[in-house]
């Protein structure tokens, strides 16, 4: 469940940037270029975030920590 929240939020955000904002760009000589930039930015950034989160979804191994770090984390992280 807690995985769905960031998924939805980020997808909606980049979907807004790439799919909704282009409709509101005023007509002018640069309209095509601005729309292209918005769509490409949305696609690239969303893909990059998606790869980052999917690669951590089902980890095959965990981090190796030094015993000092483990000692610290045992008390300070919940």
């Amino acid at each position: 469940m807690a995985f769905a929240i960031p998924m939805v939020i980020v997808t909606l955000f980049w979907g807004f940037v790439g799919g909704v904002v282009p409709w509101f760009i005023p007509k002018g000589p640069n309209r095509g270029v601005v729309i292209t930039m918005l769509v490409l930015t949305a696609v690239c950034c969303y893909l990059f975030w998606l790869i980052a989160i999917l690669s951590q979804l089902n980890p095959l191994f965990g981090p190796a920590l030094s015993n000092d770090t483990i000692w610290y984390l045992q008390f300070h992280w919940r």
Partner: protein, 781 residues
Amino acid sequence: MDSFFRSEEMCLVQLFFQTESAHNCINELGHLGLVQFKDLNPGTVAFQRRFVKEVKKCEEMERILRFLENEVVKSNIPIPADFTSETIPVPRDVLDLESRFDKLEQELKEINSNRDTLRQNFTQLMEINHLLKVFDAFLFYLHDRFVAGVIKHERFPAFEKILWRLFHGNFVLRHAEIKPHEEENMADPVKKDVFVVFVQGDQIRGKIRKFHASMYPCPNNAYARKEMRTNVNTRIEDLRLVLKRTEEFRETTLTAAAANLQEWASKVKKMKAIYYTLNLCNIDITQKLIVAEIWCPVSDLNSVHTALIHGSEQSGSSLSPVVNRIQTQQTPPTFNRVNSFTSGFQSIIDAYGVGNYQEINPAPYTMVTFPFLFAVMFGDCGHGLVMTLLALWLILHQEHFRKLKNELIDMLVDGRYIIFLMGLFSIYTGLIYNDCFSKSFNVFGSSWSVRPMFHPHGPWTNDTLHDSGHLHLDPLVSGVYSGNPYPFGVDPIWNIASNKLSFLNSYKMKMSVIMGVAHMLFGVTLSLVNYIFFRNLKDVALQFIPEVIFMLSLFGYLIFLILYKWCVVMKSESAPSILLLFINMMLFDYSSEGTVLYRTQKPVQIFLVVVAVLMVPWLLFAKPLLLYRKHKQLKFLSLPFCLSLFFGVKKAFVSLQVSMADIFVYQGIHTIEYCLGCISNTASYLRLWALSLAHAELSEVLWKMVLQVALRVTSGMGSVLLAVTFAAFAVLTVTILLVMEGLSAFLHALRLHWVEFQNKFYKGSGYKFTPLSFNRMRDMQ
């Protein structure tokens, strides 16, 4: 407007105008900056052209102007930079300016030579003055024969040696250094010494002359010396006055010239450009009409026409110039209309090759993908922030930077928007890599926790901690991994883990392959757009479809494997390596155990490899065979139906001239290049991983070995040490991580675009549209 996605449509236009209005019309066109003149006399050499004399005159005037500018700069007179000259240079202006320049040059040369002679005289008089001053001090040794003079200070020891050799010590030499006044320093800055030699014999004079020392006749008795001194003093005063007057006159002349210098320079430049352009045109027999051919964007034809009418009105001619658009088979130049934001990106595309006429322009896509790929390799939000701020500074102060006229800074200023976007994207990728000056942010709370690893939940006890230095967290123990990945980016626990590279390498390599295949698929899709625009639907079926299927069936499947392995839960012991899976797929090797990710893997993979292999002969043979069949069809039907077929299959008719062997070879090369290129280019995208790893490691080294050392010092001196160390850290960060890594990532991102992306669709063998533009000429100087 579609003009940036594709180069503009150009038309060839013939212009006819009268000789009197030629200068005004070309001047108007030059201000407009939208037409490129075609050379109508390509066979003639430079000195055979009609207006070559006028061009030479203009060059001579430019030389005089440079000489004037040098003199003005030498005298530290400021040149007023602002000038608004809208005067049109006409032929009679040429003669007028020419005579004026000649006169100015003559005057200035005369003034300069006069001043030099005066200065020489002044120096001589001052030397005599000094000589006479110190002579009295030498006069304890009265002797008849002596020679007095002035020699350069540095040559004095050699002079003394020569005298010893000559006279075997039979002489007396006295010398004193001249301490010059301010004005003497200006006139003659060399240090000099006064000397007196008391000696017998006359050969001394020859030796002195060889040393370039000046000799002065000095009278023997004190009274005559005194008279000489007063004489010399009056002469010095007179000379001082004359010199001052000369300098003043020179300054006034130069200031008057400096006021007009910029205006004249621009006028001469314009005239030279106009004559150069006139050399490209044709003058007809009656000497009254000039014919010119220009390339001009179709959308700007109206403005060109208006400019010409304006020009002819200004010259007072009765007939307006005729504009006649003609059809042509020649390839027009490529014109991409850019503004100050897009010009940087267009120039890096053009550096590789100017696009074919009306071919798709990669620049609008490059505006995002280039900074993005740079950021993937640079990925540090702290460094990205510094880069963005630097770019903002460049953008806001660009006028100031352009004034410095330094080549490196000019390049930086031209690319200020590129650097700005690179910095912005680097902040984003830095946030996702969770890397800020090699430290991570923990905003949402890590998904990994240590407590469940301990008794009674997990296998660890306090003794386990004491026994070993490093321990692995096991995701299979419940609670260690929360089940939800870190919401934005890489989990911050990896920053403090000792096996961080194992995770990051696997993640970044797979990310590079995914980005690479996506980028290349985008490139292939753009080639489809090109085919559709040029109505080349045959190539869509013969080239685009097999290319896409080949890439998707092999590398699209690879991406599917990567995503599948990420999304599906599996035990780490039984997880097959994707690389081995892929290799075995190509070799049809299904013998080893546990090599399946999903149930129907074997038949799917066999099907995909067979499809991919079938695409190769499709790419290789389909297009040439089709052309061959058309060729034979034409030859068979050529005799009776030649005419009708000519209009119908004009393209195939043209290809008759090309031999079939050429077509087969070309298609073979293209197939090999594409198929092997798919594999090698996908591997080439792994540089995204490699450079981001290098950047992260360098960043970590700077932290661990430089800044952390100072932060760990506990004594009071630690703060001073920290200040010094931070300075070192900052300098190293800027030079190594920003400049060196930035240039490196820039270069590699550029290479990825130029080679891996553009060889899927871009031909890049056009020629650039270079209009006659006075603005461009002024910016280039």
